[in-house]
Assembly symmetry: C2
Homo-oligomer: 108 residues x 2
DNA sequence: CTTTTATATCAATTTTTTTTGATATATAAA
DNA sequence: TTTATATATCAAAAAAAATTGATATAAAAG
Protein backbone atom coordinates (compact mmCIF):
# COMPACT_ATOMS: atom_id res chain seq x y z
CA UNK A 1 0.00 0.00 0.00
CA UNK A 2 1.37 3.36 -1.03
CA UNK A 3 1.93 6.25 1.35
CA UNK A 4 -0.79 8.83 1.47
CA UNK A 5 -0.26 12.36 0.23
CA UNK A 6 -1.76 14.41 3.02
CA UNK A 7 -1.49 17.62 1.06
CA UNK A 8 -3.99 16.64 -1.61
CA UNK A 9 -5.73 14.01 0.45
CA UNK A 10 -5.31 11.63 -2.43
CA UNK A 11 -2.98 8.69 -2.78
CA UNK A 12 0.29 9.48 -4.48
CA UNK A 13 -0.09 6.29 -6.45
CA UNK A 14 -2.80 3.69 -6.73
CA UNK A 15 -3.55 1.71 -3.61
CA UNK A 16 -3.53 -2.02 -3.90
CA UNK A 17 -6.88 -3.68 -3.43
CA UNK A 18 -5.80 -6.90 -5.13
CA UNK A 19 -6.92 -9.26 -2.38
CA UNK A 20 -10.38 -7.71 -2.39
CA UNK A 21 -10.43 -7.76 -6.16
CA UNK A 22 -9.78 -11.51 -6.12
CA UNK A 23 -12.56 -12.13 -3.61
CA UNK A 24 -15.09 -9.97 -5.43
CA UNK A 25 -14.15 -11.59 -8.74
CA UNK A 26 -14.86 -14.95 -7.16
CA UNK A 27 -18.29 -13.72 -6.08
CA UNK A 28 -18.98 -12.04 -9.42
CA UNK A 29 -20.57 -15.05 -11.07
CA UNK A 30 -24.01 -16.56 -10.76
CA UNK A 31 -22.74 -20.14 -10.79
CA UNK A 32 -20.33 -19.46 -7.96
CA UNK A 33 -22.97 -17.64 -5.93
CA UNK A 34 -25.09 -20.74 -6.48
CA UNK A 35 -22.28 -22.88 -5.08
CA UNK A 36 -21.84 -20.58 -2.07
CA UNK A 37 -25.54 -20.80 -1.43
CA UNK A 38 -25.53 -24.60 -1.51
CA UNK A 39 -22.46 -24.78 0.72
CA UNK A 40 -24.37 -22.60 3.15
CA UNK A 41 -27.06 -25.25 3.52
CA UNK A 42 -24.77 -27.92 4.96
CA UNK A 43 -21.56 -28.12 6.97
CA UNK A 44 -19.75 -29.50 3.92
CA UNK A 45 -20.51 -31.13 0.60
CA UNK A 46 -18.45 -33.44 -1.61
CA UNK A 47 -17.91 -32.61 -5.25
CA UNK A 48 -19.99 -35.55 -6.45
CA UNK A 49 -23.03 -34.26 -4.54
CA UNK A 50 -22.43 -30.68 -5.63
CA UNK A 51 -22.48 -31.69 -9.30
CA UNK A 52 -26.10 -32.72 -8.97
CA UNK A 53 -27.02 -29.86 -6.60
CA UNK A 54 -25.86 -27.17 -8.99
CA UNK A 55 -26.31 -29.33 -12.08
CA UNK A 56 -22.92 -28.79 -13.68
CA UNK A 57 -20.51 -31.02 -15.59
CA UNK A 58 -17.69 -32.12 -13.32
CA UNK A 59 -14.83 -30.21 -14.95
CA UNK A 60 -16.83 -27.01 -14.98
CA UNK A 61 -17.70 -27.33 -11.31
CA UNK A 62 -14.06 -28.08 -10.55
CA UNK A 63 -13.03 -24.89 -12.36
CA UNK A 64 -15.40 -22.72 -10.32
CA UNK A 65 -14.53 -24.41 -7.03
CA UNK A 66 -10.90 -23.60 -7.66
CA UNK A 67 -11.67 -19.91 -8.14
CA UNK A 68 -13.57 -19.81 -4.84
CA UNK A 69 -10.80 -21.78 -3.17
CA UNK A 70 -8.07 -19.47 -4.48
CA UNK A 71 -10.04 -16.52 -3.15
CA UNK A 72 -10.12 -18.33 0.21
CA UNK A 73 -13.90 -18.08 0.34
CA UNK A 74 -14.17 -21.87 0.67
CA UNK A 75 -12.02 -24.65 2.09
CA UNK A 76 -11.28 -28.19 0.93
CA UNK A 77 -10.85 -31.42 2.88
CA UNK A 78 -9.90 -34.71 1.30
CA UNK A 79 -11.42 -37.85 2.80
CA UNK A 80 -10.52 -41.01 0.92
CA UNK A 81 -11.48 -40.47 -2.70
CA UNK A 82 -13.87 -37.65 -1.87
CA UNK A 83 -13.15 -33.96 -1.66
CA UNK A 84 -15.39 -32.09 0.72
CA UNK A 85 -15.84 -28.36 0.40
CA UNK A 86 -17.18 -25.92 2.97
CA UNK A 87 -17.48 -22.18 3.37
CA UNK A 88 -14.61 -20.26 4.93
CA UNK A 89 -16.85 -18.57 7.46
CA UNK A 90 -14.23 -16.15 8.70
CA UNK A 91 -13.43 -14.76 5.27
CA UNK A 92 -17.05 -14.54 4.20
CA UNK A 93 -17.92 -12.67 7.37
CA UNK A 94 -15.01 -10.34 6.82
CA UNK A 95 -16.26 -9.00 3.53
CA UNK A 96 -20.03 -9.50 3.33
CA UNK A 97 -22.77 -7.69 5.24
CA UNK A 98 -24.70 -9.60 7.86
CA UNK A 99 -27.72 -9.43 5.63
CA UNK A 100 -25.88 -11.20 2.81
CA UNK A 101 -24.45 -13.68 5.25
CA UNK A 102 -28.02 -14.88 5.77
CA UNK A 103 -28.01 -15.97 2.17
CA UNK A 104 -24.46 -17.08 1.63
CA UNK A 105 -23.48 -17.72 5.20
CA UNK A 106 -25.29 -19.05 8.29
CA UNK A 107 -26.40 -16.46 10.82
CA UNK A 108 -24.86 -18.12 13.87
CA UNK B 1 -36.57 -17.13 -7.42
CA UNK B 2 -37.52 -20.76 -7.81
CA UNK B 3 -39.51 -22.73 -5.28
CA UNK B 4 -37.51 -24.78 -2.87
CA UNK B 5 -37.63 -28.54 -2.84
CA UNK B 6 -38.04 -29.31 0.85
CA UNK B 7 -37.53 -33.01 0.36
CA UNK B 8 -33.93 -32.76 -0.74
CA UNK B 9 -33.33 -29.35 0.78
CA UNK B 10 -31.93 -28.22 -2.53
CA UNK B 11 -33.43 -25.85 -5.05
CA UNK B 12 -35.40 -27.53 -7.81
CA UNK B 13 -33.73 -25.18 -10.26
CA UNK B 14 -31.06 -22.53 -9.98
CA UNK B 15 -31.83 -19.53 -7.83
CA UNK B 16 -31.32 -16.14 -9.35
CA UNK B 17 -28.55 -14.10 -7.79
CA UNK B 18 -28.26 -11.77 -10.78
CA UNK B 19 -28.51 -8.52 -8.85
CA UNK B 20 -25.74 -9.62 -6.51
CA UNK B 21 -23.72 -10.86 -9.47
CA UNK B 22 -23.91 -7.38 -11.06
CA UNK B 23 -22.81 -5.67 -7.86
CA UNK B 24 -19.93 -8.06 -7.22
CA UNK B 25 -18.84 -7.79 -10.85
CA UNK B 26 -18.73 -4.03 -10.40
CA UNK B 27 -16.51 -4.47 -7.34
CA UNK B 28 -14.35 -7.10 -9.02
CA UNK B 29 -11.85 -4.70 -10.51
CA UNK B 30 -8.95 -2.83 -9.00
CA UNK B 31 -9.65 0.39 -10.88
CA UNK B 32 -13.24 0.47 -9.70
CA UNK B 33 -12.24 -0.28 -6.11
CA UNK B 34 -9.84 2.64 -6.47
CA UNK B 35 -12.75 4.84 -7.58
CA UNK B 36 -14.92 3.65 -4.70
CA UNK B 37 -12.10 4.44 -2.32
CA UNK B 38 -11.69 7.98 -3.66
CA UNK B 39 -15.43 8.59 -3.58
CA UNK B 40 -15.30 7.56 0.06
CA UNK B 41 -12.94 10.44 0.85
CA UNK B 42 -15.36 13.20 -0.08
CA UNK B 43 -19.12 13.74 -0.26
CA UNK B 44 -18.94 13.83 -4.06
CA UNK B 45 -16.39 14.30 -6.84
CA UNK B 46 -16.76 15.52 -10.40
CA UNK B 47 -15.40 13.44 -13.27
CA UNK B 48 -12.72 15.99 -14.13
CA UNK B 49 -11.26 15.74 -10.60
CA UNK B 50 -11.57 11.94 -10.57
CA UNK B 51 -9.51 11.66 -13.75
CA UNK B 52 -6.49 13.08 -11.94
CA UNK B 53 -7.23 11.30 -8.65
CA UNK B 54 -7.26 7.86 -10.23
CA UNK B 55 -5.04 8.88 -13.14
CA UNK B 56 -7.11 7.50 -15.98
CA UNK B 57 -7.96 8.71 -19.49
CA UNK B 58 -11.41 10.22 -19.56
CA UNK B 59 -13.18 7.60 -21.69
CA UNK B 60 -11.77 4.80 -19.58
CA UNK B 61 -12.94 6.44 -16.37
CA UNK B 62 -16.34 7.01 -17.89
CA UNK B 63 -16.59 3.34 -18.78
CA UNK B 64 -15.85 2.23 -15.23
CA UNK B 65 -18.14 4.84 -13.66
CA UNK B 66 -20.97 3.50 -15.78
CA UNK B 67 -20.44 -0.01 -14.51
CA UNK B 68 -20.55 1.18 -10.89
CA UNK B 69 -23.58 3.32 -11.70
CA UNK B 70 -25.45 0.45 -13.37
CA UNK B 71 -24.75 -1.66 -10.30
CA UNK B 72 -26.25 1.15 -8.23
CA UNK B 73 -23.15 1.35 -6.08
CA UNK B 74 -22.71 5.04 -6.95
CA UNK B 75 -25.00 7.90 -7.91
CA UNK B 76 -24.66 10.76 -10.38
CA UNK B 77 -25.75 14.38 -10.16
CA UNK B 78 -25.39 16.83 -13.00
CA UNK B 79 -24.57 20.42 -12.09
CA UNK B 80 -24.06 22.65 -15.12
CA UNK B 81 -21.42 21.03 -17.26
CA UNK B 82 -20.11 18.93 -14.43
CA UNK B 83 -21.16 15.46 -13.39
CA UNK B 84 -20.69 14.74 -9.72
CA UNK B 85 -20.52 11.16 -8.49
CA UNK B 86 -20.97 9.90 -4.94
CA UNK B 87 -21.30 6.56 -3.21
CA UNK B 88 -24.72 5.01 -2.85
CA UNK B 89 -24.32 4.51 0.88
CA UNK B 90 -27.44 2.42 1.30
CA UNK B 91 -26.45 -0.13 -1.34
CA UNK B 92 -22.86 -0.34 -0.21
CA UNK B 93 -23.96 -0.92 3.36
CA UNK B 94 -26.38 -3.58 2.20
CA UNK B 95 -23.74 -5.81 0.74
CA UNK B 96 -20.40 -5.04 2.37
CA UNK B 97 -19.25 -5.82 5.90
CA UNK B 98 -18.79 -2.95 8.31
CA UNK B 99 -15.07 -3.58 8.19
CA UNK B 100 -14.99 -3.05 4.43
CA UNK B 101 -17.25 -0.05 4.77
CA UNK B 102 -14.37 1.60 6.61
CA UNK B 103 -12.38 1.39 3.40
CA UNK B 104 -15.01 1.89 0.77
CA UNK B 105 -17.64 3.60 2.82
CA UNK B 106 -17.59 6.13 5.72
CA UNK B 107 -18.20 4.66 9.15
CA UNK B 108 -20.96 7.08 10.21
C1' DC C 1 -23.09 32.41 -33.35
C1' DT C 2 -18.45 30.16 -32.50
C1' DT C 3 -15.40 28.09 -29.46
C1' DT C 4 -14.17 25.70 -25.43
C1' DT C 5 -14.89 22.51 -21.76
C1' DA C 6 -16.84 18.38 -19.52
C1' DT C 7 -18.42 14.13 -20.32
C1' DA C 8 -20.56 10.09 -22.71
C1' DT C 9 -20.66 6.77 -26.30
C1' DC C 10 -19.10 3.99 -30.14
C1' DA C 11 -16.39 0.68 -32.89
C1' DA C 12 -12.25 -1.90 -33.27
C1' DT C 13 -8.86 -4.33 -30.81
C1' DT C 14 -6.88 -6.67 -26.99
C1' DT C 15 -7.19 -9.16 -22.82
C1' DT C 16 -9.43 -12.05 -19.59
C1' DT C 17 -12.65 -15.41 -18.32
C1' DT C 18 -15.52 -19.30 -19.21
C1' DT C 19 -16.78 -23.50 -21.44
C1' DT C 20 -15.89 -27.99 -23.31
C1' DG C 21 -14.04 -32.39 -24.00
C1' DA C 22 -10.06 -35.10 -23.25
C1' DT C 23 -6.78 -36.83 -20.30
C1' DA C 24 -4.25 -37.50 -15.87
C1' DT C 25 -4.09 -39.05 -11.03
C1' DA C 26 -5.19 -41.20 -6.97
C1' DT C 27 -7.95 -44.11 -4.17
C1' DA C 28 -10.87 -48.03 -3.64
C1' DA C 29 -12.99 -52.24 -5.05
C1' DA C 30 -13.12 -56.58 -7.39
C1' DT D 1 -3.34 -56.72 -10.68
C1' DT D 2 -7.35 -54.83 -13.26
C1' DT D 3 -11.18 -51.93 -13.12
C1' DA D 4 -14.11 -48.38 -11.52
C1' DT D 5 -14.85 -44.02 -9.20
C1' DA D 6 -13.85 -39.21 -7.78
C1' DT D 7 -11.69 -35.33 -8.97
C1' DA D 8 -8.22 -32.12 -11.04
C1' DT D 9 -5.96 -30.22 -14.94
C1' DC D 10 -5.01 -29.06 -19.67
C1' DA D 11 -5.58 -27.13 -24.30
C1' DA D 12 -8.63 -25.24 -27.70
C1' DA D 13 -12.66 -22.58 -28.64
C1' DA D 14 -16.11 -19.34 -27.33
C1' DA D 15 -17.77 -15.55 -24.81
C1' DA D 16 -17.35 -11.54 -22.03
C1' DA D 17 -14.97 -7.55 -20.38
C1' DA D 18 -11.51 -3.88 -20.85
C1' DT D 19 -8.77 -0.61 -23.50
C1' DT D 20 -8.11 2.83 -26.99
C1' DG D 21 -8.86 6.57 -29.94
C1' DA D 22 -12.38 8.95 -32.36
C1' DT D 23 -16.55 11.19 -32.31
C1' DA D 24 -20.93 13.04 -30.32
C1' DT D 25 -23.42 16.08 -27.15
C1' DA D 26 -24.49 19.62 -24.23
C1' DA D 27 -23.57 23.50 -21.40
C1' DA D 28 -20.82 27.68 -20.76
C1' DA D 29 -17.89 31.33 -22.25
C1' DG D 30 -16.40 34.60 -25.49
Amino acid sequence: MKSIDFHTGSTAEAMDFTSYEIKFKALADNIRLQIMYELNQKPSICVCDLTTLVNLPQSKLSYHLKILLDAELIEKEKIGTWNYYRLNKKEVKNILSEELCCIFYPSS
